[in-house]
């Protein structure tokens, strides 16, 4: 029967997650016995701080801010990056001009983007979005480009043989063919975006997890610092869950490999 099987798989991966978390918690708790309590607070202190983040509206708002910043910027980066990547995949000429620019962007650390953001923009949210965009667009664009170039030539010729217009070629062949690559670059960039959002939030923002995290570190409140970090991990899990749902839906056509 099919339903139990799908259920069984989902159950297995859920229980794996729980087991992972338990494992990490145990390792942490054990390590606290060997480390001074100032830098390695116990699980209960961390747990309390984490709970606070979710129940106190004053704290929760920071998490919401950061989540939204990540989401909106990432969607923007996705649209821009995918468009650029598709164009690069479609034209050697464009690719030659874009690749160095994207590589250049990749080489610039967030520390430097921060200064440029301050110089060029006044609006806090714009600055944060700018920094996240600068860091995540190259990844989207380069991966999409490489995926487009990996699409089976047979399928492209098929579309050409049927005289599909350029738009149709993209919509009916290229985009569906690169969906797996797009999904995997989303998971990569999600991490990137969260990481850089935290740094970006150090300029101008008095909201957001980045600010709270730095604050907690500055006043040596390690339990809070770890709790804020975990709250980011939870945000990532949440988004990752959405990505996996979309993956299950869009990649349902993939044959299930029996073994590799």
């Amino acid at each position: 029967m099919a339903v139990p099987r799908a259920l069984r798989e989902r159950w297995r991966s859920q229980s794996a997650l729980v087991l992972d978390l338990v494992l990490i918690a145990v390792v942490w708790q054990v390590s606290t016995y060997f480390l001074p309590p100032i830098v390695a607070p116990g699980l209960s202190a961390i747990g309390r701080a984490l709970l606070d983040i979710f129940i106190e509206p004053d704290l929760r708002i920071h998490l919401i801010y950061t989540s939204l910043r990540v989401l909106v910027s990432l969607l923007g980066a996705f649209i821009i990056g995918t468009a650029v990547g598709l164009m690069m995949g479609g034209s050697d000429w464009f690719r030659d001009y874009m690749r160095p620019l994207l590589n250049l962007m990749q080489g610039i650390p967030a520390l430097s983007w921060i200064v440029f953001a301050v110089i060029w923009f006044t609006e806090v949210e714009v600055r944060i979005a700018f920094i996240i965009l600068m860091v995540t667009i190259p990844t989207f664009a380069l991966q999409v480009d490489s995926a487009v170039r990996g699409v089976n030539l047979d399928f492209i010729q098929l579309a050409q043989a049927f005289r599909a217009s350029r738009m149709q070629r993209y919509a009916m062949v290229l985009l569906p063919a690169i969906v797996p690559a797009i999904i995997s670059v989303w998971s990569v960039n999600l991490g990137n975006a969260i990481r850089v959002a935290v740094v970006a939030e150090l300029i101008g923002a008095t909201t957001g997890v980045g600010f709270q995290l730095l604050n907690a570190q500055a006043v040596l409140d390690m339990a809070a610092a770890i709790a804020w970090t975990l709250s980011l991990v939870l945000v990532l899990f949440f988004y990752q869950g959405i990505i996996m749902m979309i993956e299950r839906r869009l990649l349902a056509w993939r044959p299930k490999g029996e073994q590799a």
Binding site: L35, P36, P37, I38, V39, L111, I114, V115, V118, I119, T122, V124, L202, I203, G204, A205, T206, F211, L214, N215, Q217, A218, V219, L220
Partner: protein
């Protein structure tokens, strides 16, 4: 005060073996890092029977390493954070002696209409919120009757403070040294003066801010090193204050800044060099702790024995 320079090699000490010592400190161009190049350049460590290796660290690392005891001695110890906060968390930290008193300001463009802290109301202020310098500034804001909730405060990483001001994104910036001197050397900016309020309201002259702190274990284990450390820093502080040009160029070289700016900064006294044993200024120290309690930076009054008394 022109203190006579100590001869570089005192015969008595030169014969005994130098005590090797690692001193973590904040990295240049931070205030706590100013004496380091001078000590090494002029040999003040060897002159006191010490062979010091300075370990510059970023603030966050410096704090964690010190708080966890990974480094038992702190060469840029902040009274409020490294002593007050860490003690609050149950570690036994001793503030040995003070080196610099507090100095902080709000810099505004020369032509700005802002003359006092109260004028900041309704304006945009850039500041590095998670620093002790800003924490103490909050106390001054309170003293001068400025309600910070009426100011649009923008948290800014310390490296972006000056770009924020220079590119005209804010009306003022909460700063310390040497950042302020560098800013002033590159444009028309002036500092709001509010340090005087301290003396008026607390009736104490000193305003302890940063110096040398250590874990209790280290203090117990190395009583003989503590006076030598004090002497070493005292000589460095004297040298810096008495020979601003030479000290300025040593510091400038170590921090890749302009020697003239550094020399001017030393002459301005804004570095606040003020050396005393922690126990010698209990009233001032307690006033500082009280201020921190008042603004909610500390939750409890640290025990009196966190302050080290002058060894006899």
């Amino acid at each position: 005060a022109a203190v006579p320079l100590v001869p570089l090699a005192r015969p008595a000490l030169a014969q005994t073996k130098l005590a090797a010592l690692d001193i973590p400190s904040l990295a240049m161009p931070s205030l706590g890092a100013f004496p380091s190049p001078v000590i090494k350049e002029k040999g003040f460590d060897k002159a006191n029977g010490l062979d010091v290796t300075f370990q510059p660290k970023a603030a966050g690392i410096y704090r964690s390493d010190f708080a966890s005891g990974a480094s038992p001695l702190g060469g840029s110890g902040s009274l409020l954070i490294d002593v007050g906060l860490v003690s609050e968390k149950g570690a036994k930290i001793i503030y040995l002696f003070n080196i610099n008193d507090y100095w902080g300001t709000v810099a505004v463009p020369g032509a700005s209409a802002i003359k006092t802290l109260k004028d900041l109301s309704g304006k945009k202020l850039a500041a590095a919120l998670p620093t002790s310098n800003y924490a103490i500034f909050r106390y001054f804001a309170k003293l001068s009757g400025l309600d910070l909730s009426t100011v649009e405060v923008m948290n800014t990483s310390s490296t972006a403070l000056v770009p924020m001001m220079v590119s005209g994104r804010v009306d003022g910036v909460q700063l310390w040294e040497p950042a302020y001197s560098i800013l002033a050397s590159k444009g028309d900016y002036r500092a709001l003066d509010f340090i005087g309020l301290w003396r008026e309201s607390n009736k104490v002259a000193a305003m302890p801010y940063q110096g040398i702190a250590a874990h209790e274990g280290w203090v117990k284990a190395n009583p003989q090193l503590i006076p030598r450390l004090y002497a070493m820093y005292a000589q460095a502080a004297d040298f810096i204050e008495s020979s601003p040009d030479e000290a300025g160029s040593i510091i400038a070289k170590a921090s890749k800044t302009d020697p003239q700016t550094m020399a001017d900064l030393i002459r301005s006294k804004r570095l606040g060099f003020n050396m005393y044993w922690a126990g010698e200024q209990r009233a001032a120290t307690e006033a500082m702790f009280r201020a921190a309690l008042e603004i909610g930076f500390l939750k409890d009054m640290p025990a009196p024995d966190v302050l080290f008394d002058k060894p006899v």
